[in-house]
């Protein structure tokens, strides 16, 4: 097996029928940032959307390799409601949560990947942060759900920033650099239309209504971001964003100690990593400029952040 020679092949190089066949049978190996993932799917209705969203990722052709994550979704029925089709997520053969309606399969797969990454990647300090890069410097946008993190991240990506992730800041604890893991960005509710207006070139997956997070649509990660996803970079800016309807734009540099506390509490696994997390977070806030950002207009926030990155 010439796995090395074949490793440059992308998902696009196998057409949709072959893609679907692998998902259904032996599993599809795909490299997503630092993780080699094997996906299996028994839900044929999302093959086409998945193929579009994932077409630029490196295809892992060989079977004789170690994968970081094995994920599977299957179509199933509940014995009490046999007429209703459900989707079940299986991580290594086990269901981490209850079944969800079948039409949410794509969201279930994406959430499942997030869950698997968050639960077993403790060789990284995992920040709950959108992460983008410009001029070789990483901008972290750490924030809690509902703060507009994904929307801002998507907007930046369509204004010249390289996508690392809309969800994870993967910090290598020893070097302090951040690894890209570009994935489809999950827009919610009103931000779907906002992004359609802001970036007409954005390629969106199907709209999935009535999930536990409302209506969801995934934006495909830009091709260039995926192609350069092996290139880590150092953090230059840490901006804690908060979208608030009608709010006056405000962005102020913040004390390092505040930034430390906010970043430490934002991480998924700060306590898990203990001392090495402390050291990594301290170095991040010491070497990066830290800001607090409140905005209501996306354009204004994007213009400010672009200005920040371009000012040097």
């Amino acid at each position: 097996m010439t796995a090395v020679a074949l490793s440059r092949r992308t998902i696009a190089d196998i057409g949709e029928p072959e893609f679907a066949a692998r998902l259904a049978r032996q599993g599809l190996g795909v490299r997503i940032g630092p993780f080699d993932v094997k996906l299996r799917s028994g839900v044929r209705t999302i093959d086409s959307a998945l193929h579009r969203l994932y077409r630029d990722y490196v295809l892992l052709d060989g079977d004789d390799q170690v994968f970081n994550i094995h994920l599977r979704i299957v179509s199933t029925r509940h014995w009490r409601r046999p007429h209703k089709r459900m989707v079940r997520l299986l991580v290594d053969g086990r269901a981490p949560h209850e079944d969800l309606p079948l039409d949410q399969a794509l969201a279930v797969l994406e959430w499942g990947l997030n869950l698997a990454i968050a639960l077993r990647s403790h060789s990284w300090l995992m920040l709950h942060s959108a992460t983008v890069e410009r001029h070789g410097g990483v901008l972290l946008l750490p924030a809690w759900p509902g703060s507009g993190k994904t929307t801002l991240c998507t907007a930046l990506v369509f204004r010249g920033w390289r996508l690392f992730s809309d969800e994870f800041g993967l910090v290598e604890p020893l070097s302090g650099t951040v690894a890209p893991i570009p994935r489809p960005m999950a827009l919610k509710n009103a931000s779907i239309e906002v992004i359609r207006g802001f970036a007409p070139g954005a390629e969106l997956g199907p709209t999935i209504p009535n999930t536990r997070k409302g209506t969801i649509a995934h934006v495909k990660a830009p091709t260039e971001s995926i192609q350069s996803s092996s290139k880590s970079a150092a953090v230059r800016w840490i901006v804690f964003p908060r979208w608030s309807a009608g709010a006056e734009f405000a962005c102020e540099e913040m004390p390092k100690l505040d930034a430390f506390t906010m970043l430490a509490t934002n991480a998924f696994n700060y306590e898990m990593l203990g001392e090495s997390a402390f050291i990594a977070v301290r170095r991040l806030v010491e070497t990066a400029r830290c800001f607090r950002l409140v905005y209501s207009e996306l354009d204004r926030a994007v213009a400010f952040l672009n200005g920040l990155a371009d000012s040097k």
Partner: protein, 384 residues
């Protein structure tokens, strides 16, 4: 060549046996086998142990990065849980320091950890198990409650079930640290078939490092591990518990001459000859524990009726070893169901069992809606 004819369960057994008995050899497995092994080891909570052994023998560097990453991650997890456990024990010791007459005896995982037993390295700590003299149990519970521990939400039936029929109180959880503490007064349920004397167990306890916490005597540590696995669980995916037994047997038999015979003498004293038989037998057969032949013969006194032993020999491995994650196994499913039924059967007399199951069926199917796990709980850890 070999792979073609090897069944799914044989592959599972082969790989996990290598990981337990000869962890260094893991470095020379084909990558596809290593990939499966990591998934299996994670399932049976042995990934941390494997990582520990590979790290100590400097084999980690020889593995592909995707494997190293997972093993390193599991080490971080194990270390974090051990840190939590040590701090919890420190806090518990502080609570009970004022009443030295009341002995706090650590059981299972936290005892292995506190006493630095060899099986503690890489072992994932879950909750704190404590043994008290029954007369001290209520005071101990009240003291913990007054110091920030609280009961978990249980209905009146479950409260009753714990207090009257089992060997432990309803679990307590510390309000801030969220670590569960289980307070026991014996090592098997009150209603169970076995009747070990808690007084005898308490007579033989040892202090840990001269501190205020205790553990069971050497022989009782092993007998408890055997009893827990064979008489207080359904054994599904419990290979780790057999590995504990293997590690402990090797450790104590090497450091003490005459340990094997002492162990069996003690098993007779405690009415634990059946779990001792099973424990020695399965550790020897499945993990190659060097049990002397004379001891294996002597332990036969505790063996069950022969046809039953024959059945157990077939069922137990199918439960202890995990099911291949990508292949269904009807045999394993059936075996696990039968062992689950056995676990209920040996825990309660038949009439009580019927009553218990009837109530549980009523509670689960009729009184509350189905669905044990909720999505937000699982998802909130990962996704905003």
């Amino acid at each position: 060549m070999k792979r073609r004819t090897e069944s799914a369960s044989a592959i599972v057994r082969r790989l996990l046996t290598i990981a337990v008995q000869d962890p260094q050899a893991v470095a020379s497995l084909p990558e596809r086998d290593l990939d499966l092994l990591l998934r299996l080891a994670r399932r049976v909570r042995l990934l941390g142990r494997l990582a520990d052994r590979l790290e100590r023998t400097q084999r980690l560097v020889q593995l592909p990065s995707a494997a190293r990453e997972q093993l390193k991650s599991s080490s971080v997890l194990v270390q974090a849980r051990s840190r939590v456990a040590r701090w919890e024990l420190n806090r518990l010791a502080a609570v009970f320091r004022e009443s030295p007459a009341m002995r706090v005896v650590l059981l299972k995982g936290c005892a292995y950890l506190a006493a630095g037993m060899p099986n503690a390295a890489g072992r994932l700590f879950a909750d704190v198990d404590l043994l008290f003299a029954e007369r001290d149990l209520e005071v101990a519970e009240q003291r913990l409650i007054s110091r920030g521990w609280h009961g978990t939400k249980l209905d009146a039936y479950d409260q009753h079930y714990y207090r009257v029929w089992t060997h432990e109180l309803p679990p307590l959880v510390h309000a801030e640290r969220e670590v569960e503490a289980d307070l026991h007064h014996n090592i098997v349920p009150r209603t169970g078939r076995l009747k070990p004397s808690a007084a005898l167990l308490l007579e033989d306890v040892q202090t840990i490092d001269g501190g205020s916490l205790y553990r069971l005597g050497d022989r009782d540590v092993v007998l408890h591990a055997m009893t827990h696995l064979m008489f207080d669980s359904d054994m599904a995916d419990c290979l780790r518990d057999l590995v504990d037994i293997d590690d402990l047997l090797r450790h104590f038999s090497e450091s003490k001459s005459g340990f094997w015979d002492d162990l069996l003498d003690r098993a007779s004293e405690l009415d634990l000859v059946r779990p001792a038989f099973y424990g020695l037998h399965f550790a020897h057969v499945l993990l190659g524990t060097p049990v002397p032949d004379a001891i294996l013969r002597r332990s036969q006194k505790g063996a069950p009726w022969q046809p039953f032993e024959w059945v157990m020999d077939r069922l137990v491995p199918l439960a202890l070893f995990p099911i291949h994650p990508d292949m269904r196994s009807r045999r394993a499913t059936v075996a696990r169901f039968l062992l689950y039924v056995r676990s209920l059967w040996i825990r309660m007399p038949p009439l009580l069992l019927v009553r218990h199951l009837a109530y549980k069926f009523y509670a689960r199917r009729i009184r509350v809606s189905p669905g044990r796990r909720s999505v937000p709980d699982a998802g909130s850890a990962a996704k905003g």
